[in-house]
């Protein structure tokens, strides 16, 4: 099989899909108006179809040449998304301190070996720093602890 630039092809096609959807959604749901008095749908429709057009050209050119291989490193991806996700899930229920601690423990999974002691110290240190810096230093009102599961 001939080599293609996979990144450009996939990315370009995604842009085509996004652009067409964006433009069509704007046309369908918002008034288009006239060039003189543009409605809320006028500009978004053009922007959407422009994205689709550009995406098409990118994908087409991507078919015509070889590109660099794409290497997905799943471990850091999952660790970072999960860590921040855990923060989002816990912060309203248990407060900022437990959420920060949980984030650090999950985030540390991104690298091996897992250093438990170092991670524990880091988690506690960062939680303390967050409270001191944000709540006391900047006066941002958030609760270090709460119980609202």
């Amino acid at each position: 099989m001939r080599r293609i630039d996979l990144g450009d092809v996939v990315g370009g096609l995604l842009l085509v899909a996004f652009g067409l959807w964006f433009g069509a959604y704007a046309l369908e749901h918002y008034a288009y108006g006239t060039a003189r008095r543009m409605g809320p749908g006028y500009f978004p429709a053009w922007v959407g179809f422009l994205v689709a057009g550009l995406g098409g050209v990118i994908a087409l050119l991507g078919f015509l040449r070889a590109g660099d291989p794409i290497v997905i490193r799943l471990r850091p991806l999952i660790a970072v998304i999960a860590a921040t996700g855990v923060f989002a899930l816990t912060v309203e229920r248990f407060g900022v301190v437990p959420a920060v601690v949980a984030l650090v423990f999950v985030a540390a999974l991104g690298e091996s070996p897992y250093r438990l002691l170092r991670t524990t110290l880091l988690a506690l240190g960062l939680a303390a720093l967050a409270v001191v810096l944000f709540a006391w230093g900047l006066g941002i009102p958030f609760q270090p602890f709460r119980w609202n599961p």
Binding site: L15, Y25, Y30, A31, I72, V80
Partner: protein
Amino acid sequence: MSDLLANLAMGFSVAFSLKTLFWCFVGVFMGTFIGVLPGIGPLATISMLLPVTFHLDATSAIIMLAGIYYGANYGGSTASILLNLPGTPSSAVTCLDGYPMAKQGRAGVALMATTLASFIGSSIGILLFTGFAPALAEIGLKFGPAEYFAMMLLGLVAASTVATGAPLKGVAMVVVGVALGLVGTDVQTGQQRFTFGLLPLADGINLVSLAMGMFGIAEVINSVGRVAQQRSTYRSSVLPWTRDFWRAMDPGREDWRRIPGSSVRGSAIGSFFGALPGTGPTISAFLAYALEKKIAREPKRFGHGAIEGISSPEAANNAAAQTAFIPTLTLGIPGDVVMALMLGALIIQGIQPGPRLVAEHPQLFWGLAASFWIGNVMLVILNLPLIGIWVAILRIPYSILYPAILVFLVIGVYSVNNSVFDVVTCILFGFVGYAMNLMRFEPAPLLLGFVLGPLMEEHLRRAMLLARGDPMVFLERPISATFVAITAVLLLLALWSSLKPKRAEGFSAPI
């Protein structure tokens, strides 16, 4: 002239207040800090500190953010010299001669030369900023909506085609950014667009969530397990009040003579390209290096520790960092993505950057100008006598750094509105940003389009209303026609270069 002096005096009275001095120091300190650290750059840091600025007044906020931006240029060269790893993209070129100097045992000399050159570059940039910005604002006042639309178009196209490795993809990302910028309530009709009934989206996608996701989270995912710990051979155990400390930094007579000339040449290049949309500190530094090599009597010295090879680019990137504020503040057109964030920060503070800014918020404008001087003096102190601190910081392993970055990132996003929705949006954009990274689509143009998109729509609507729906208005008015013509040329060049085989390399380094 007396006006200028009176204004500067007023600026210094603002900048010397204890509060402003403090935030200026925080800015330049953070800037140097993250400039030194490879793996995190000014863009991620500014997005991270953006939420903090909402709790400050507008002047302190912009002074701190600006300090990060120009401070990072000072710190970036330190990592380039000591580790051969650019701390910021703009100091990538400093590796070429800075690292050989360090290997020859002249690291101290190189640090001295880059700090001096940076200071010269900044000074020239600031002088031009104070001189030209008010004048440009006067011109900007005469612009109508057609000129503004054309100018923003040019700015976006220039930024996405000139500075990126793949121009066509850059343009596509700008337009995607514009599309995302349209989410929210339409100002003219009150129509909710693309909100899907989600209340938090009525004000549009949160700039902080978008920026932190694309530059913070995506960057961390990319770097985890990859940024190896580096060891520097430079020992700065010598304390700054001893004679040996300064002797290690003395370049010697011949090199002393080379610094001023090359710095001034670098500053000239940097000042010019910094003020243009689309070209910034990074390109300026590369051009300055190329020029020095061209005019040198013995070009062979370059790459083996030629002092002009570090002083000129460093002067250039610092000068560019200062003049980049000219179009941002006076026309509301950010030249690059960091400036787009500054613009966003000001808009969130309720200040509209544009030609009226100088007249309506003189305290902010002149206070910022004065803070540039103060900040640069602080940076010289931070980077010469206190260099030992930064050398020590180079030893922090990334495995400690990245959880800390993530913590500050999510707390920052969360604290803006105490909203979990914002955090989730941020994670989502982090994922999108990582995917874009894999497919080699650059996030910077997207953010630029996001900030400018809504303004462009507004100007387009007004221009078309005034012209009774005739699009020829953009070609009939001379200034706007010029902008459109340059845009068209850039687009053709972009198309042409994407048909050719791929360019060897963009300027990729942590942003």
